[in-house]
Symmetry: C2
Subunit: 339 residues, 2 copies
DNA sequence: AATTTTTCTGCTAACGTTCACAATCCGCGC
DNA sequence: GCGCGGATTGTGAACGTTAGCAGAAAAATT
C-alpha cells in the first residue's frame, strides 16, 4: 500500500490512531495492570494495524537494562572456529534458545584470549549477565568475575574450576557410576579410568570420583591410567592406552574421561591387535558425533546440552541463591562395550 | 577506591572532567575531524581516567542504526541443538568473529520454523542485516527476503537455493574437480558420484557438476549413484552404496556429496566385506570431525568456515553489487583413498 | 587595520521509550 | 449535595547519545 520507504511506526503513531496519550500505549502494551481493558484492546488493535513494535533500544535505554545476555565461548588462541568442541557449540545453541524464550537476546562472542573478553564484557557493560562456556585456567578470571558480580552483574560458568562462582556442570559423578555399572553388567571385570586428575578440568576429576566410588561399592579397587599433556585429547588417549598395554595389568575395560581420549585409546588397541570390545571394552563421555562412526561405535555417556543451556540461563537471570546445578547425563550403549 | 556501587560514567562526566561541553566529548571520541588534537587528547585522557565507554543503546537510538547483525541458524523442528551440522556451528562462530571485528554485535537465534524467524527478524527490526545459515526449501522465504531487501535491509544466505539473493557458497565445482583429480591420481579408474541432484541442496548439484566436468576432461563417463530420502544422511549413503554393490557396475571409488553419506557408504562396504580403500576408495565433503575417527579415516574436501563467515558478513555490510562469492576448498587426504 | 575565511566548540533539539506525579473521572457513603 | 478513595489517564521529565546550527576565536586575505 504505502509504496515509499515507510518509517517505522512509533508509540506516538499508535497513540494518535487509538486516541490516547503516548505513555498509555506503553502501559497498555507492557501489560501494566493500571489500564482499562477496553483501552488496552483499542491500543493493541491500533498497534497491530500499524505494525508497531517496541523499539528495544529506546525501552532499554530508559529502563536502564540491556535485555541482553552476553555469551562468551572461550577458545584457544589460533584455534579455528571448527576446532572447538562440538559440545560447546551445542551448548551455545541451547543457551541462545533458552535466553530467547525468556525474551533475552544473546550477544555471542568467541574469544581466544581472556583479556579480550574481560574487556569486551566489562568495559562495554552491554549485557545484564554473562554466560561463559569453556574452561579457563587463568586465575585472574576468578578475580574478574567476582568483580562483575559485586557490580550486580551475574555470571554463570559452564564447568568452572572456581567453586565460588555460579556454575552448571554435568552430573559427572553419576556419569562415573553409570559407566562402572554398565561395564560390570556387560561382563567386564577390571574397568580402568583413563584421564588426568588435578587439572583445571574439574569435570574429569569428578568423573573419576564417581567411577572410584562405584568401583568400591562393587568391591573392586579403582584403577587409574593417567594421561599427560599432548597436542590433542586423542593423542593423550592413545598414549595412555599404549602405556596400559605395555604394563599389561590385566585391565579388561577402559572408561575414558572424554570421547576424544576414548577414540584415541581404541586406535591404540587396534594398533596393538587387541580386539575392542572382545578383549577390552572402551567407553567415553561426551557423545561426540565421531563416536557414532568409529569402528567399533563408541559407548558413551551423553551430557544434555539443552538442559544445560537452560540451567545456565536460569542461573544468570534468576536472582537468589548461588545456583550450582548438575545436569543429568545418560548412557548410550554402542558396540565398543558389547563383549 | 569508590567503594559503593558506582554508576556508569556518562559523556557529561567526561566533559566536566575535561573542561569541555558534552557534545565535544562525543565528537572527540567518535573521531570527528572537526576537533583540535589537543582537545581530543584531553577528552580521551578524561575518558580513560573515568573508565568511560559509549553507551551503544543511546548512540544507536540517536543514530538510528542498530549496530547489530542478526544471524539465524535454521534447524529442523524438534531438532536438538546438537543435531545441527557441525559445520553450521563453525560457520556461526566465524560469522560472529568477523562481525565483531567490524564493530557489529551478533544477535543469534536458532529457529526451527521459518515463520518464527521471519517474525523475529522482520517485526522487531533490530538488526541492520541478516545472515541466514542453513538451507530452507520454503518458497515463501524468497518473497520474504526480497521484502526485507526492498526495505533497505541486506540479507546474505549461506547456500541459498534462490539465485536472486546474495549468497556465499563453497566452491563446490572446484571440490568436484579436486575429488576426481585426487581419485585418479591415487590410482582409481571409475570414481562414481554419490548423492541426489535436483534438490534444494544446490551444493550437491554443484559438486556433481564439477565432478562430471573433470571426469569428461579425463575422458571418462560420469556416473551417478543417486540417493533417496532417508532419516539421516548416513542412512542415505548406506543405502546408495548397498544398491551400488548389488548392481556391481565395476565402480572402484566413490565421491560422496557429503561426509555423512561417505561414512554411511564406508559402513555399507565394510558390511559387504569390500575393503576400503583397497577395493573401493571413498571420499566426501565437509571435513567432519567424525571423518578423522572413522575406520579408515576419511579423505575429504574441507570447506573454509573462517573465510565463509567473513564473506557472509562482507556481503551483508558492504554496499554495492550483489555479492555472490565462492569460498575456496581444500583437499584433505586420509586413509580411505590410499590404495 | 578591517574584513573574510577557516577552524573549532557550545547550544539546543532530537531519537522512542518508561517512570513519577498530578489530574481527572467515577461511584459511594455521609 | 459534598467530599473522598480508587481506578484510569495525561503531563512532564529523563535515559545518554549524536546532529544541525550558530557563535567565537584564530588564521588568512585584502
Amino acid at each position: 500500500m504505502n509504496g515509499g520507504s515507510r518509517r517505522r511506526p512509533t508509540s506516538f503513531d499508535v497513540a494518535e490512531r487509538a486516541g490516547v496519550s503516548q505513555p498509555t500505549v506503553s502501559r497498555a502494551l507492557s501489560g501494566s495492570p493500571a489500564i482499562a481493558e477496553a483501552t488496552r484492546r483499542k491500543v493493541i488493535e491500533a498497534a497491530e494495524a500499524l505494525g508497531y513494535f517496541v523499539d528495544e533500544r529506546a525501552a532499554r535505554l530508559r529502563r536502564g537494562s540491556t535485555g541482553t545476555l552476553a555469551v562468551v565461548v572461550i577458545c584457544r588462541e589460533g584455534d579455528s572456529a571448527s576446532s572447538i568442541n562440538p559440545f560447546a557449540y551445542a551448548l551455545l545453541g541451547s543457551v541462545c534458545v533458552a535466553a530467547s524464550e525468556r525474551g533475552f537476546e544473546t550477544l555471542v562472542s568467541f574469544q581466544a584470549r581472556e583479556a579480550d573478553f574481560f574487556g569486551h564484557y566489562q568495559e562495554q557493560g552491554r549485557a545484564d549477565g554473562l554466560v561463559v562456556i569453556g574452561t579457563t585456567t587463568n586465575a585472574a578470571a576468578w578475580e574478574h568475575f567476582r568483580g562483575l558480580e559485586s557490580e550486580g552483574r551475574k555470571v554463570a560458568y559452564w564447568g568452572s574450576p572456581f567453586d565460588e562462582l555460579d556454575w552448571v556442570r554435568s552430573d559427572n559423578r553419576a556419569a562415573g557410576k553409570l559407566a562402572v555399572e554398565h561395564l560390570l553388567a556387560a561382563g567386564y571385570r577390571r574397568p580402568c579410568f583413563l584421564g588426568a586428575l588435578n587439572t583445571p578440568q574439574v569435570q574429569f576429576t569428578e568423573r573419576y570420583e564417581g567411577y572410584a566410588e562405584a568401583m568400591r561399592a562393587a568391591g573392586l579397587e579403582p584403577c587409574l591410567a593417567p594421561t599427560v599433556n599432548a597436542p590433542t585429547r586423542e593423542e593423550e588417549g592413545r598414549r595412555a592406552a599404549r602405556r596400559l598395554i605395555e604394563r599389561g595389568e590385566g585391565i579388561d575395560a577402559v572408561f575414558a574421561a572424554c570421547d576424544a581420549m576414548a577414540l584415541g585409546a581404541i586406535e591404540a588397541f587396534a594398533a596393538a591387535d587387541i580386539a575392542v570390545p572382545q578383549q577390552v571394552g572402551v567407553m567415553g563421555f561426551d557423545d561426540l558425533v565421531a563416536g557414532r562412526f568409529s569402528r567399533p561405535p563408541l559407548t558413551t555417556i551423553a551430557p544434555d546440552p539443552a538442559e544445560a543451556g537452560a540451567a545456565l540461563v536460569e542461573a544468570v537471570l534468576d536472582e537468589g541463591e548461588a545456583a550450582r546445578r548438575r545436569v543429568p547425563v545418560s548412557l548410550i550403549v554402542r558396540g565398543s562395550t558389547a563383549r
